[in-house]
């Protein structure tokens, strides 16, 4: 068994979906630590697709560390027919490039009104790989669940007022993925704070776990808040998500959304499930 194979034996694929960085140096710190934890996918907040490409080009000049953008997987997945095949080939490509970290851009829209959110979606959708919506206003959140341009509805686990049964039911109807941010578990200052965070998180997860698609993220403020997929699943246990129900919530769901967004870049893409397979004859 080669050294690379031995290393892969102990590593499980992980993804951190929500990283807020101050500058490129900060991003490099995140990448360095994520390599140690075998976190393959990093979603960088407020970094446009072009900015990520420029960053990667700059980095490749000075260092041998392999960093790629998620759109580099497009040539491999475009030849596959079904979405399942595309995901399988993407996972294969990520597993084969063991030293590589894949970056993708994301934008979190904080819509105060529906009109604001509509404007922002039109403005940002094509500039970012992933679009997420976070809102304390339940009406705005409910509107966002049925918009096809929104990938995630972000929910802070300490804010139980931002979620109700109607919202969760709508999210289920429109197949919307919910993003649970576990950052308050790390930032709680004392026992009382942590206890109230866990209590409100359990109320939210009680509504979500049985029916909805969801993902887990730490939303790290420092690189040392990054966690592996296994650890995320155990943190999920603390807030009432059974270990066996969070299998897809740490890597597969994120990759599925990224792959389906990449597919939309194709010229042949018409609509979800509809693609041009041959040329029109007169």
């Amino acid at each position: 068994m080669s050294i690379e194979e031995k290393k892969n034996k102990f590593s499980v694929l992980s993804c951190e979906n929500f990283i807020e960085v101050k500058d490129n140096d900060d991003l490099l710190n995140f990448i360095e630590i994520s390599k140690k934890l075998c976190i393959k996918l990093l979603g960088i907040e407020n970094y446009e697709k072009k900015k990520i490409e420029y960053f990667i080009q700059d980095k490749m000049k000075t260092s041998h560390d392999e960093i790629r953008s998620i759109s580099s997987l497009f040539p491999q997945i475009k030849e596959c027919d079904t979405i399942d095949d595309k995901i399988r080939s993407a996972i294969k490509a990520i597993k084969n490039s063991s030293k590589t970290t894949f970056l993708f851009s994301r934008k979190t829209l904080r819509g105060e009104t529906i009109a604001n959110l509509k404007d922002d979606l039109a403005k940002y959708r094509k500039r970012f790989d992933v679009i997420s919506v976070v809102s304390d206003n339940l009406e705005v959140a409910k509107w966002a669940t049925h918009d096809r341009r929104v990938d995630y509805l972000t929910i802070g686990i300490s804010n139980k007022e931002a979620v109700d049964e109607g919202l969760i039911s709508l999210a289920k109807q429109h197949n919307m993925t919910l993003e649970l941010c576990l950052d308050s578990l790390f930032l709680s200052s004392d026992a009382r704070n942590l206890s109230s965070t866990i209590r409100s998180a359990k109320k939210i997860t009680n509504l979500i776990v049985k029916r909805n698609k969801f993902i887990l993220t730490v939303r790290p403020t420092t690189p040392y808040h990054l966690r592996t997929s296994q650890q995320l699943r155990y943190l999920g246990e603390l807030i009432g998500i059974p270990f066996n129900k969070s299998k897809n919530a740490v890597f597969n769901e994120q990759l599925t959304i990224l792959v389906s967004n990449l597919t939309k870049q194709s010229e042949k893409y018409v609509f979800n499930g509809v693609e041009i397979v041959g040329e029109k004859s007169d």
Binding site: I3, L37, T222, Y224, R227, Y234, E237
Partner: protein, 109 residues
């Protein structure tokens, strides 16, 4: 009938800016476990730090407390205001296998 208490061995790794002593890691781990699950659960956990070298170590706990041990490990983010990540690499039911994994890891790195 007496129940058998089965042990689990967690091979873990730490990532930090500075080299940390095992005594510091032990102290914070016990504190955090007690903070999260209380004194009674902590006594039942059977925690024992077997080995620690170059940021890799072996931690023993009971099978029933494995979940709580891993939750505690996930929530540790600093020791003496030094940021740290402590994450499990491999979980085994026998110490022999766990030690062989640590040896393999040392050979790789």
């Amino acid at each position: 009938m007496i129940d058998d208490i089965r042990d689990r061995y967690i091979v873990y790794k730490t990532v930090s800016k500075e080299v940390l002593k095992l005594s510091n890691i032990k102290r914070i781990f016990w504190q955090k476990y007690q903070f999260l699950f209380g004194i009674t659960k902590t006594t039942e956990a059977g925690l024992f730090f077997e080995e620690y070298k170059d940021g890799k170590g072996l931690l023993r706990c009971t099978q029933k407390s494995l979940k709580n041990t891993l939750i505690t490990m996930s929530l540790i983010s600093e020791i003496n205001s030094i940021p740290i990540i402590m994450f499990p690499i491999y979980i085994s039911g026998t110490i022999k296998k766990a030690k062989s994994v640590i040896e393999q890891m040392f050979r790789i790195v």
